[in-house]
Symmetry: C2
Subunit: 259 residues, 2 copies
Amino acid sequence: MPGERTLKLVIEYDGTLFHGWQVQSRERTVQGELQDAFERITHERVHIQGAGRTDAGVHALGQTASLRTRHEIGSRELMRGLNALTGHDLVVKRIEEAAPGFCACRNATGRLYRYRILNAPAPPALGRTTHLHVIRPLDIDAMNEAASLFEGRHDFEAFRASDCERASAELAIECCTVAGKDDEVVIEVRGQAFLMNMVRIIVGTLLWVGSGRFSPADVEDILASRDRARAGPTAAPRGLVLVEVYYGERAGPSTSSIR
Amino acid sequence: MPGERTLKLVIEYDGTLFHGWQVQSRERTVQGELQDAFERITHERVHIQGAGRTDAGVHALGQTASLRTRHEIGSRELMRGLNALTGHDLVVKRIEEAAPGFCACRNATGRLYRYRILNAPAPPALGRTTHLHVIRPLDIDAMNEAASLFEGRHDFEAFRASDCERASAELAIECCTVAGKDDEVVIEVRGQAFLMNMVRIIVGTLLWVGSGRFSPADVEDILASRDRARAGPTAAPRGLVLVEVYYGERAGPSTSSIR
């Protein structure tokens, strides 16, 4: 019998028609659709571990996942099979052999999220599933000033969902920026890990800074308050995309190239 | 009775579910949906003239159209009404009063088209309705060299559909460029006017240059041959977007600001 292999998958999806990453008994989810497709190909039921449990409606360009299998199928053949069996809104972009014990979630050293906003009088037609629409002109400079306050190590208790189960809310954000170009506003947040709804609450808070309801100084107070009720609303999922997951020196087992 | 007004509309649409711009008796079209919505609001049947008759599946960020009406409805109210009555994949972004006699098609001094390609092993999930997928790595430098040969005034007989009705195929292209960034390849073509399918045939020909089937010198020969059969295929519509229509000094009547 062949030994156990660990595979690393890089996955892109349009989250519009998924009820998020995590398997649910009755709803279509990314993890569920991948695990079902894998089972149809290999007749083996595996757990596919994602680096981030994206919410319903959130997209991914570079979600990363890992699985352990004893099946000998080649990476290219597996990729073709998974892409044939899943919907067109879910694509496995790359499959690599990983070192034994590699976990896409635990070994991730960084995650980059991007949130896109159309700041214009009329809503987007082409970007209607990928952009939040904000009519009132946003103050990008104020948003950027407030965004920089999130950088560094903080207690993000005010910026997580009430049902977030992580013991500690203390995390480090490496980078949080707001950039405007024409009528598009792009918020990027990069950190090692995130709490439940954290990026969307940060975005919702920055949007209130952009509209003048909060000042950058207010954001400092909200962080210090550790009070979710004081932060802005949870921004709609459709603007959010998990762009990339990093596996740096802290990643432990390194991954080899495509089979 | 109030005098006749001329309105200029800037329109964005996701062409995926439209059978193109031009009214058809049984199919959903952009022009048809706009004219029907206008009629429901004003009880007046008008002809809405587009600057470009985009094909089925082609998108627009800045399609421009004009219409003449005797109705006194304000531009903002009309915009709200049209956006309420048309699908979410069709948005009127701006309505301006234009000088009498302004025609969005005849007065256009330039049109900018963009074609987007994902050049990667796996197809796009998020960009599946906006990008052509090309697996084989494209030679961007060769494509760019060939693209520059389209610039200037040429007889584009080899680059138009057989049922194109324009008398002369002689036109000027101001700019034709190919740019690659990460796994996205973007082709931009700007000119005063275009023949039927012209941009898509140019793109199909450049793709054959990118894959090595044509050399840049071949493109010069194809242009000179005036033979459609020698050019590349008509590239799929989903990668194409009409980005902007220009009304420069040759535009005649100038348009006023938003009402």
